[in-house]
Symmetry: D2
Subunit: 367 residues, 4 copies
Amino acid sequence: MTGSTFGKHFRITTFGESHGPAVGVVIDGVRPGIPISIRPIQKELDRRRPGQSRVTTARKEEDKVQILSGVLEGRTTGTPICMIVWNKDQRPEDYKAIIDVFRPGHAGYVYLAKYGIADFRGGGRSSGRETVARVAAGAFAKILLAKRGIRITGHTLEAGGVRAVRFLRGQIEKNNLRCADPEAAKRMERGILRAQKRGDSVGGIVEVIVENPPVALGDPVFDKLDADLAKALMSIGTVKGVEIGAGFAVARLRGSQNNDSLYYDRRKKRFRTRTNNAGGIVGGISNGEDIVIRMAVKPPSSIALKQRSVTRSGKSVDLEIRGRHDPCICPRVVPVAEAMVALVLIDHIEQQARVKKSVGMLRSYTR
Amino acid sequence: MTGSTFGKHFRITTFGESHGPAVGVVIDGVRPGIPISIRPIQKELDRRRPGQSRVTTARKEEDKVQILSGVLEGRTTGTPICMIVWNKDQRPEDYKAIIDVFRPGHAGYVYLAKYGIADFRGGGRSSGRETVARVAAGAFAKILLAKRGIRITGHTLEAGGVRAVRFLRGQIEKNNLRCADPEAAKRMERGILRAQKRGDSVGGIVEVIVENPPVALGDPVFDKLDADLAKALMSIGTVKGVEIGAGFAVARLRGSQNNDSLYYDRRKKRFRTRTNNAGGIVGGISNGEDIVIRMAVKPPSSIALKQRSVTRSGKSVDLEIRGRHDPCICPRVVPVAEAMVALVLIDHIEQQARVKKSVGMLRSYTR
Amino acid sequence: MTGSTFGKHFRITTFGESHGPAVGVVIDGVRPGIPISIRPIQKELDRRRPGQSRVTTARKEEDKVQILSGVLEGRTTGTPICMIVWNKDQRPEDYKAIIDVFRPGHAGYVYLAKYGIADFRGGGRSSGRETVARVAAGAFAKILLAKRGIRITGHTLEAGGVRAVRFLRGQIEKNNLRCADPEAAKRMERGILRAQKRGDSVGGIVEVIVENPPVALGDPVFDKLDADLAKALMSIGTVKGVEIGAGFAVARLRGSQNNDSLYYDRRKKRFRTRTNNAGGIVGGISNGEDIVIRMAVKPPSSIALKQRSVTRSGKSVDLEIRGRHDPCICPRVVPVAEAMVALVLIDHIEQQARVKKSVGMLRSYTR
Amino acid sequence: MTGSTFGKHFRITTFGESHGPAVGVVIDGVRPGIPISIRPIQKELDRRRPGQSRVTTARKEEDKVQILSGVLEGRTTGTPICMIVWNKDQRPEDYKAIIDVFRPGHAGYVYLAKYGIADFRGGGRSSGRETVARVAAGAFAKILLAKRGIRITGHTLEAGGVRAVRFLRGQIEKNNLRCADPEAAKRMERGILRAQKRGDSVGGIVEVIVENPPVALGDPVFDKLDADLAKALMSIGTVKGVEIGAGFAVARLRGSQNNDSLYYDRRKKRFRTRTNNAGGIVGGISNGEDIVIRMAVKPPSSIALKQRSVTRSGKSVDLEIRGRHDPCICPRVVPVAEAMVALVLIDHIEQQARVKKSVGMLRSYTR
């Protein structure tokens, strides 16, 4: 019951239900003196926001973020930063109609089993709305990473069975899918709208790439960088699988194919690999190559098609879910996934700050 | 640098390098009064042990476990349990020859970057030998789970491109692959020996199934049960991907296909699903169906084939690795994966113990 | 920099500066289904509030608490509870005048050393205003404890050299000192007003008594109940010493005097002690006797008397602090100390819930 | 039940019972490359060891420490360091005689209540023997602190009612009391032997002084340096009170007396205070002055004098404890208290390493 905190050094604690007064986050561990403005944070929230395009839900949530603490005259003070977003577009009546019937794929019945109580208001804490807090905190982390030259890019690699075959970064934010292949994006969109028309939804794959990551992030043996990334991404409600680098493809590779051969890059002054099957992480530690991570995104559970379900009292019924729902959640998962990756990276950077310094001090220790 | 601890309530801390005096684990949070013998723990270690069969390394490690604390007259006392395994078969000379050359796929160069020091003795802490500690602790957890009727079964689902098509539980421990399909096992073995002959290695997929799991394990929002399982499994050095239930296949399913329809099971007195695409976890919380989780296991990096690599001083060289190495690590990953799943489950069971009681107490609170 | 979180199972995270927009707290780990109203929480905040009487500061802060999450239709839902109090009575001009001079006894110069930044607005995070969040969370904890029949009572045992010699519980809230001895209270108050007139302040001792505590709280070896209580109370800005039971007096006792002799109480069905020098805690574990804990409260540092101090640029100056300050903080420390004790107790009760159940299960395990 | 871990960044986990096979500690978070030898660690253990002098117990424990991991060729590797001490002088028969009777002042009956089991072997985990692990880890921390010029000195300030009035550091290790005042030491010793002859024991006060501590250690608001020190020291079984600087004396001081006036020390290039009532910690953060902390040490509970007690079955009996026990534990608490202070300091130094660097980076951030 204390699962709302994430991170050790850059530590976030989130709160808020989908239809309560507000959602928000407290970030502890932010260094002092960092100039911070609300704009880039708001921009990330806008990327997550529903109602962006015709492939996302039509719900309107303005999601204006407000900073309650930790910032003085445009700079962080080193004290906890609380950000909140008031919930506005609450239409519990959409849900009250079906309050008594569990929705397949939703967590209502397991929440009931766990808590002896289930929030009828659209999912409560199990709703995707909690990701507002992740994105706000992640936006903060991304600002810090950008200052270090680290770039995090998420995109929809696959949706409804259509896979992107090109990677044109500049295209990502130009189509409704956040897909780096504009041709594929069009086909994805058509497929999604077709599914939506039938009252159905589609799944997909989201990929996040970290360019210019620091070398040496990740802590053996349990807090490996890839282990923490896997947890971070799997904690997103809609994700059912996570893979790094070659991922599940390694099952069919031989060692001689999968091993990334090593060389020394004199310009970058570090060891590098010629291929990147490892996805930038070896032995749980970043090696400086791009970190490449993909996640399986399930088709949204709220669909208009008639489904077989059950009432709280155990009676089998047919269910038709009304309301405004996403036919494919991938484009909105992109900023959430970027946020989670950013949070893991900044946390490990903070952790590593100590070690790095230590390595620099080896000489003084050893004399 | 504090990544050697895992779990909140049933918390393990591991120590030891591949070629130091010993590896071991301290378990804190074990309930008092539990009868415990060394035999089932030793048995799990024997399943992990090298030299079991011709598809694993020929290294001999006896791996006799010794309990140093926390047990009195055959019962746990509630105090920390320390178990150690002394390292015996140390042949650093195997490694000293190549001490100066980084091995592709190994963590030597990132450890050097991280710590300013690299243990030349066969990987040190990055060696698979640290999993001895995981298996010893996991064996303990499995004993506790078995008392609750929870069964954890790992098996090799795929190796070298051969996939099992049948699941005959009784067969798993009867072949060298720990594969539930004896026909597939034979073909896997042939493929592995062929690759080994060529000086190469093969990857695969290991699956773990949890039967009869408790309902309601998992903590929203970050400590979801699947998030913690993903971290646990991805922290195994050789794993590059983790998926739950339908996993990456959800990307190509529609909502109407992926949603598991609900009904009430009057005999079991709980809500159940007709299919199990969710893999036993909904909204991060166990729903009582079998938990099904798979992981991508990379082909072992230590191969005899000549590889292109680099020395510590940055010189490019050809490398041929001698020594005794596994051509396919899947059969030895099975007990490690089972151990990690067991550790996550027992930790969440301990966490949930409080909540469950609480739900039972709702009545008294509400009056 | 991540010191704003307290507790393991009933875990609070606080935020907010004295003169920022708001102060608040997120509580994670609250059980679901508990009826909760704002009134008892507001009542505790009113006890902490400045401007209560002539022995406290004349600043007026209404401190109206607002619940943002975790409560649905008057009951907890098991999700994080966020409570905030907006800051209203901000008069930074009182502080701006002295922005450049460090105030003796205040943390300005060490915050500057730590963060490279110092909040000029009346102490920022080092201000006593952060205790609003503690009291709000503690009020919550007290409600839960009261349901279990556990009563927590704080009182001013000593102030300005006057010590209470009687303990009349009913008197505590009837005088400005929160002293259980009305005669002593009068003399304390006279002494305080005298000191205030001279531009000075006085220290004191606050005691907290826990009646009817559960047996067996506290975790060997580092998380002993008294260790956690000591940390909780010493973390209050104004506290310079903590003692349990006989406390520092044990230094002059012999073993034969200090040992509490044991007997079995047939009515209460538990072992009891005839004396309570241990203060209810033996070996770090509660024994069921009253928990008695005292803390040394320093005289407030903000005094009107001219003091020798230094500017940021290192120049020695005379300083006269204006503004509205407490001549003795003891009466306002009382609710804060109660809150911290309540938070420690509920956290250990949640922890122990598991163990207790476990002990009850010993039989089933051992068969 | 997971209270055997201490620290966040320099984190220790201890294990072992008084009469089990071994006691030990795992330290995680030690920087790599630090030269380390067993000698200074052994030396600290020898200071803690029983049988040192006629004012301590006559039990003989050699307490030879052995390092199992984390050190390679005389240097730390950055991986967890496990140290164990085998238990040798086990005489359970001393205890078996009284197995059925609870000893006043001992934790037997509360352990029984907590765990449903009580280790009859001389206290098990509640025995002072667990401090072997603290001292071994603390010795390690002291080595690291010494490299930074930080000196930690513990001494017996008071015993059996005799208080030291001089502080001659060089004398501390020259008398049986570890008292800095040789005259007082003699009187203390006489008092102790007198009490012992009567079958009784005496209490005292131990003080620890940290010279040349870093400025800016300590994390607002809960993880204040003094809060963590208070917890660390109160977690020692025999300690019943902790105070910092002026401590409980502040209750009788006025603000004008207690405030330490500030000046700028041009040689040391930092702000200093003319007096040190704060004991080196302001607002929970170290200000660079000596850290001064005292703890109340209770008279040992194991005394030969006949005491009134109770059997497990609830029968009142007279008890005479045989065996070899300390008449005054202060001299043996000294190294334990130093160890705990060292562990807190190194942990906060590791934490602060990040912030400090951050403050140094303010400029780069702000441009």
